[in-house]
């Protein structure tokens, strides 16, 4: 690894980080505008053209707000919790390939920060670590609603992680690799080589589990406003409160990108050989990736403003009694078919 490689990696890290943060802001704007559109309202349209600077104004507002630390909280953990949630959320994107490779000055640059051979596990590991932020936020607030929210969400995350992981196992069985690049490249070619067509059940399970993992309606029990006021972030204010939301949106973006990578061919454009098109192919593949991810982000918003919320025990029943057996069944079927074929 020479210096130039090192610089390239640094640039990629900064770029991906900036893009994620930008996407978070975009998501906040999109959420507010689309929800308004769904609900027959206008939504924010005053700050900047079409209200585009609204997220900036929101951010500024959060910065200006008084940062209240209640006296009864456990201070070190209370301060640590938002960071513990946000850092894994921002780290996850590192292994997701967002385009085919670029050739600049005779150097091949793959559009991915880290091409590690256990990319799938890396993402699973980081999502499981994200629980700590929520649990500690709930506990350190030393208040009843946050505690309930923290408990609910940790139970929820642990339960749904299982189905999510098992849904992915089917994909991994078919690819024979945990490297996300291999998963993408095995979906190249025509449209029906995407795993969503080969593994529809796994896709459904994964999609539902991802909604639960990111705490979005209909699974947003951790912050169920009508029951738990705000859930685990009830006692937070100012920028720390904003950090919870940034983490939530960052998680959503990563989850959408992960869904696209696993089931929708990643940056693949069907019937097009990106590699043959050189840099233009890389650019196109990047755009395709962004569009696909944007669709799933839209789906998040659409679902949120359409469905009611599950109850805690119903959520658990769905996770353990429906999705888990189905995911196991899916693995058996996939394994059986693969054995027969080979």
């Amino acid at each position: 690894m020479d210096l130039i490689d090192f610089i390239i990696i640094c640039i990629k890290v900064v770029l991906v980080f900036a893009a994620t943060m930008l996407a978070v802001m975009g998501m906040i704007y999109a959420e507010r505008r689309i929800s308004a559109f769904i609900q027959n309202r206008l939504g924010p349209n005053r700050v900047g053209p079409k209200g585009l600077f609204q997220p900036l104004a929101d951010g500024l507002k959060f910065l200006m707000k008084e940062d209240i630390i209640p006296t009864a909280v456990n201070k070190p953990l209370y301060l640590l919790a938002p960071a513990m949630l946000l850092i894994p959320a921002l780290m996850t994107f590192a292994v997701i390939p967002f385009g085919s490779s670029l050739t600049l000055f005779g150097r091949q640059i793959s559009l991915q920060v880290a091409n590690i051979n256990i990319g799938v596990l890396y993402i699973l590991a980081l999502t499981s670590v994200g629980v700590y932020g929520i649990v500690l936020a709930g506990w350190s607030s030393n208040s009843k609603y946050p505690l309930l929210g923290g408990l609910r969400s940790s139970a929820q995350l642990i339960s749904y992680e299982l189905s999510m992981g098992l849904a992915i196992v089917a994909i991994v069985l078919m690819t024979g690799s945990l490297r996300l690049n291999d998963i993408v490249s095995s979906q190249q070619g025509h449209l029906f080589s995407w795993y969503v067509f080969k593994q529809p059940l796994a896709f459904l399970i994964f999609l539902i589990a991802v909604y639960a993992e990111t705490n979005r309606l209909p699974f947003d029990l951790a912050e169920a406003e009508q029951e738990l006021v705000g859930g685990y972030h009830t006692e937070y204010s100012s920028m720390k409160f904003a950090m919870f939301f940034m983490a939530e949106y960052a998680n959503m973006i990563t989850a959408a990108a992960f869904t696209v990578t696993l089931f929708f061919g990643g940056w693949d454009i069907p019937f097009v050989d990106e590699a043959a098109m050189g840099n233009w192919g890389a650019l196109l593949s990047g755009i395709a990736f962004i569009l696909k991810t944007a669709f799933f982000l839209f789906l998040y918003i659409w679902v949120r403003w359409t469905f009611p919320r599950f109850r805690y025990d119903q959520l658990m029943n769905l996770g353990w009694k429906v999705m888990l057996p189905l995911a196991l069944l899916n693995i058996f079927i996939t394994g059986g078919i693969l054995t027969i074929i080979s």
Partner: protein, 382 residues
């Protein structure tokens, strides 16, 4: 040592109980209500409602103002359905004084009362959706409620507290073109009911959350004095508009929807909710008939002295508001001010049964049950 040593005394395993205060500052207590909830984990073992945060001495106030001046206070009791409250008070006063109002006044009153019933039920449906986590139906309901409020604004200048139905009449006649506007609204509104059904009523998650939850059996409902849609949700066909018709309700053809347990047990949250949805249709029906029959000519004020002095005596009269059986007990000592005025609040009785029906459910269900009872704290605390 035998098998006995292996058996566990399960009653000894006691989880720690937690006391949780829901409210008075809570997003879904529909006002300033405090529910002291004793929970075991997330299971609720006891609920004690604490009321009075909105107490404004309504009844005492009434003893110190003249009979006409009571009406604005009545408005502020059930502020979601002011017209119906006005109506109830006017009916009680007219019974006490033995006044007969003109035909036209009756029709006007029925039309505004049914419109307000629609508005009130829309709020109930919307906030109930909100309580179980569905945000969008709430705004759809408000979109349509807004139209009714616009109509009322056209009618009397106020959007929430109307002070429109007076003793012996109403404050103004319908403005020119009002009847056509109401027709227009009804044509617009009727198809929207289907929209709520598509969006919320028959949503799988919504049914899971509400059917079978917080079942209020008919006998319990009657013993607590629950009335209105909550009682009808339990399958009791009781509606004062039909059973004890006041004003001109006996002239109209309409049904009383009751809970049938279509999605679960009779008397569940879903039944209470669906009764309200069906009542929207019935109210539309009544309003249409009233609009068709309303006499064009006629005075909207009865001949009354400047100062009302009802004869000595007392009256208890009740009417059907969107929340149920609203009763007024008025004692007159012949002076221009009531000697005593007691209001029987339907929301209060509805709230009183919450410990009975919400015990044993989870915290999320308590919120849903509270939403399905459709309480208005203004009327409970008075």
């Amino acid at each position: 040592m035998g098998i006995e040593t292996l058996t566990l005394d399960r009653s000894a395993i006691q989880g720690e109980e937690m006391v949780l205060n829901i409210g008075p500052q809570h997003p879904s207590t529909h006002g300033v209500l405090r529910l002291q909830v004793v929970t075991d984990g997330e299971i609720v073992t006891k609920i004690t409602p604490y009321i009075g945060y909105l107490h404004r001495c309504f009844e005492k106030h009434c003893e110190n103002v003249t009979y006409e001046q009571v009406i604005p206070f009545v408005d502020r009791c059930d502020y979601i359905a002011s017209m119906n409250n006005n109506f109830g008070y006017a009916v009680a006063m007219e019974e006490l004084m033995g006044i007969e109002v003109s035909e036209k006044v009756h029709y006007i009153r029925v039309i505004v009362a049914e419109l307000n019933r629609i508005a009130s039920h829309l709020l109930a449906i919307g906030t109930f959706g909100l309580d179980v986590g569905a945000f969008t139906p709430f705004l759809y309901c408000f979109r349509d409620r807004e139209r009714i409020l616009d109509l009322f604004e056209l009618l009397c200048g106020a959007r929430l507290l109307y002070n429109y139905i007076w003793v012996g009449g109403v404050s103004h006649d319908f403005p020119i073109g009002f009847v056509e506007k109401v027709y227009e609204f009804l044509d617009y509104f009727e198809p929207k009911i289907q929209e709520y059904n598509d969006l919320l009523t028959f949503n799988k998650i919504f049914i899971e959350r509400t059917a079978d939850v917080g079942v209020l059996p008919a006998d319990v409902a009657i013993s607590y004095g629950v009335s209105g849609p909550n009682l009808r949700g339990s399958g009791v066909k009781w509606d004062l508009r039909k059973n004890e018709p006041y004003s001109i309700y006996n002239k109209f053809d309409f049904d009383i929807p009751i809970g049938t347990g279509a999605m679960g047990t009779v008397g569940g949250c879903w039944d209470r909710y669906y009764v309200r949805i069906r009542e929207l249709e019935e109210s539309v029906k009544i309003t249409r008939q009233a609009l068709d029959q309303i006499p064009r000519e006629g005075d909207v004020h009865a001949a009354l002295p400047k100062k009302i002095r009802p004869p000595k005596g007392h009256v208890y009269s009740r009417t059907e508001t969107p929340r149920g059986d609203l009763g007024f007990y008025i004692i007159s000592d012949g002076k221009p001010k009531p000697f005593r005025l007691k209001l029987r609040s339907p929301a209060f009785t509805a709230l009183s049964c919450i410990n009975e029906i919400a015990r044993g459910w989870m915290i999320a269900d308590v919120i849903a049950i509270l939403g399905s009872l459709d309480i208005v704290l203004g009327e409970i605390d008075r």
